[in-house]
Symmetry: C2
Subunit: 453 residues, 2 copies
């Protein structure tokens, strides 16, 4: 990685001496992500000085790299007019995302300062649900006429490239704006200068509908190794493109959400795993979930209470409560992880669901049998009681088989019903399986009570 | 998405009629990923016919998209000579990955058929550990002399583009091969034709060392929105590049590994969440882990056994075993999810670790207090026993605080010690916290025994 040793100090020095040209030169060599880091490290006064030296375009590149909270600070520092000019220079998808996080009043102030077309474009982009292709796309793509030659196209690119989000994929549309073809800049470069676009473009374009879920879009871009994918409305009209950098962000975001789901933190809300949130806010998001699980846990206790007589007669049964409940939770969480990940990577087609259930049933059977035999043996030796060993082994055998299936089927049903998948989180499955496990355990023990006492 | 309705049938028809030109035209319009799907759906005989019609370059594009098991099938069908020729046409990073999965005998057969330079290149690539920048990089990048003009560069690109993995980033090196600058094809297109490369190239190049962990590389590409990043050896000599599509694959792979970790399946081995593995193999990977947890679970039982007298005197204490153990596991898993995700996204700098521990201590305190009060109340009302409510509440209060910290600190220590992070998996933390919870619970109950009976 690049090292910026000394750069920061030299920027501060040049700021104090007002060497604008030198500053522009030093700063211009730094990647926008790092420029943003440096900008936020500066004092308020120095930040103001630097912002004055930079153009709106340069500031736009930097602002994109800053967290929304810090952006609000920057709005206040720069003033709403400068901010509005900077927003206009940003890729439209990023601009819409940022504006979507502003409060109503600031948003209107910023938009009112733009010309009508820019305002209308951004308002329209902001209307698409955030988690869909529409919410992710940018409208700054390049369309070429199919009758252009490669050489004419490159000349045109030279003019319009600075405004486009990517110049590496170029699109061809018919008179109604419907997507007709795609070619890459690579194809264009390789082609001899007089070749016509319609001779080198691909006509079987892979595109995504505007309402496609963002995770599906990201998986598609990943699968096809695309740098961008075009977005079309229901009439196949090209309305935007989604670039690979945004697809990567989606993959990372969805991975965090899946972890939050499995970990049972607020059900997969983005940012919930953020280590920068303060303790109070972090606790506030976890507590409702824990309180719910506590109540379900009391329900498990109630099951044991139902079998109080059995337990009073054979206190040793209580020794195995943690292992029965725990193992039910463990095997269920394993199956759940497979299902969540499968759903996330779009591995499931219709018939795969049934195949997965059958597979997990098989897994459950093998796991139940091996662990059932193991615990029988341990229990029998530990408590010097072969009958007890048999009871515990049988209970665990049934429990593990049922718990593995529950860990597979419950989240699949929940996903099918399109209920908030948070409900299928790790601790939820664990707690459900606790209850199943204890019920099975005490039922088996009570039925075989005669042999135990 | 593109629909291939009818395409498959028309390919089969044209194969049976031997219409080579038509086949090439239909097939050429299809994306390699889909070509691969179609190829694998064909009968063995039709697959052989189609493979004969396609060039080595075309086959190379297709083969990349096929799973390794099916590739081995293809080697047998095509014969080792054709396969060797195809491998040479593949991007060197993909070729090295594939060859790395072959058995020694097949590998040597394939390599012996190549010329010496190709063989040496691939053997060298295969030597880098799979999970590092070296294992991920391709050696097919484009280097331009800094004294070239934009126009000369584009002309050169036209010639060499077909062999490079990406033409969108171009690199400049000094006489010793050290990385000196980078420019994008976009910069090149925008520049006026007579501009020299050294006037438009960026000299502060972000590069990665050859031994950098692949997850760090992927996070860096994601953070900077790069299409590729150059890889350098310890002398800053350019040795390869890593492209964004490979970075995306890494992110997806690492997300699966993290899920497997949290779910406690074989500790994050890649592919372990694959729904296509058969039941026996899936069970084989989960059983050792479950068996270990079973033994630890018996240890929990042993703790209860230590308190047999307490339990015989107050059987009602057993009703709360599931909720105490369960809640300890739940809060620990929540903290663990935060830590695993934080490690994966590289959020942790040195002092962040301490800050996170403090934050989680705060979270633990809040969670413990609210849930402690809640369960006190429920237990007191349910069992009509205020003292019991107090004992349960106090036990849960201590348990949740300790369990939250354990869920944070244990995986951090394990990561620090560079022990296999599998050990810090969800069920492991859950089980550890079960033991902690039960010990605390029965200790508190035994100490306050006098007030309970």
């Amino acid at each position: 990685m690049v090292s910026y040793n000394g750069t920061f100090d030299s920027i501060v020095l040049n700021l104090s001496q007002g060497n604008k040209d030198e500053l522009r030169e030093i700063f211009g060599e730094i990647h926008p992500y790092d420029q943003a880091q440096i900008l936020m490290l500066l004092s308020k006064e120095n930040r103001r000085l630097l912002a004055e030296i930079l153009t709106d375009e340069e500031m736009a590149e930097i602002i994109q790299e800053i967290e929304i909270e810090q952006q609000k600070l920057i709005i206040d520092e720069l003033g709403i007019e400068r901010y509005s000019k900077i927003i206009v220079e940003m890729p439209s998808d990023d601009a819409a995302d940022l504006l979507g996080d502003l409060d109503e009043e600031r948003l209107n102030q910023v938009l009112n300062l733009m010309d009508d077309k820019e305002e209308a474009d951004l308002r329209e982009l902001m209307e698409h649900p955030e988690n869909t292709a529409g919410g992710l796309m940018t409208t700054e793509y390049i369309v070429l006429p199919e009758y252009f030659t490669a050489d004419e196209s490159i000349k045109k690119l030279r003019k319009i490239a600075p405004d486009a989000e990517t110049v590496y994929y170029l699109y061809v549309v018919d008179e109604d704006g419907r997507l007709k073809g795609v070619l890459s800049l690579r194809d264009l470069i390789i082609a001899s200068p007089e070749t016509k676009i319609y001779d080198i473009m691909y006509e079987r374009v892979v595109s995504v509908p505007i309402d496609m879920d963002q995770e599906e879009v990201a998986n598609l871009i990943d699968r096809y190794d695309f740098l961008a994918v075009p977005v079309v409305d229901k009439h196949q009209v090209l309305v935007g493109i989604i670039t690979v950098d945004d697809a990567m962000d989606v993959l990372a975001e969805e991975a965090s959400e899946d972890m939050a789901k499995l970990g049972g933190i607020g059900g997969g809300e983005a940012g919930i795993l953020d280590i920068n949130v303060n303790a109070f806010d972090a606790a506030k998001k976890r507590i409702p979930w824990l309180a719910l699980l506590l109540c379900i846990g009391i329900f498990s206790g109630n099951i044991i209470a139902q079998f109080e007589d059995t337990l009073e007669a054979v206190v040793v049964l209580s020794f195995f409560i943690p292992v029965i409940a725990g193992m039910a939770g463990n095997t269920g969480t394993q199956s759940l992880a497979v299902v969540i990940r499968g759903l996330a990577t779009g591995q499931f087609a219709g018939k795969d669901t049934l195949r997965l259930i059958k597979r997990e049933a098989g897994v459950g059977l093998i796991i139940a049998t091996t662990n059932g035999i193991l615990i029988s043996f341990i229990a029998a030796v530990w408590q010097k009681n072969i009958v007890l060993g048999f009871v515990i082994g049988l209970a665990l055998w049934i429990t593990l088989f049922v718990a593995t299936l529950a860990g597979t089927i419950v989240p699949l049903i929940i996903a099918k019903l399109k209920i908030d998948p948070a409900v299928a989180s790790g601790p939820f499955i664990t707690t459900i399986n606790d209850i199943l496990g204890l019920t099975i355990y005490f039922t088996v023990a009570t039925m075989l009570m005669g042999y135990l006492v």
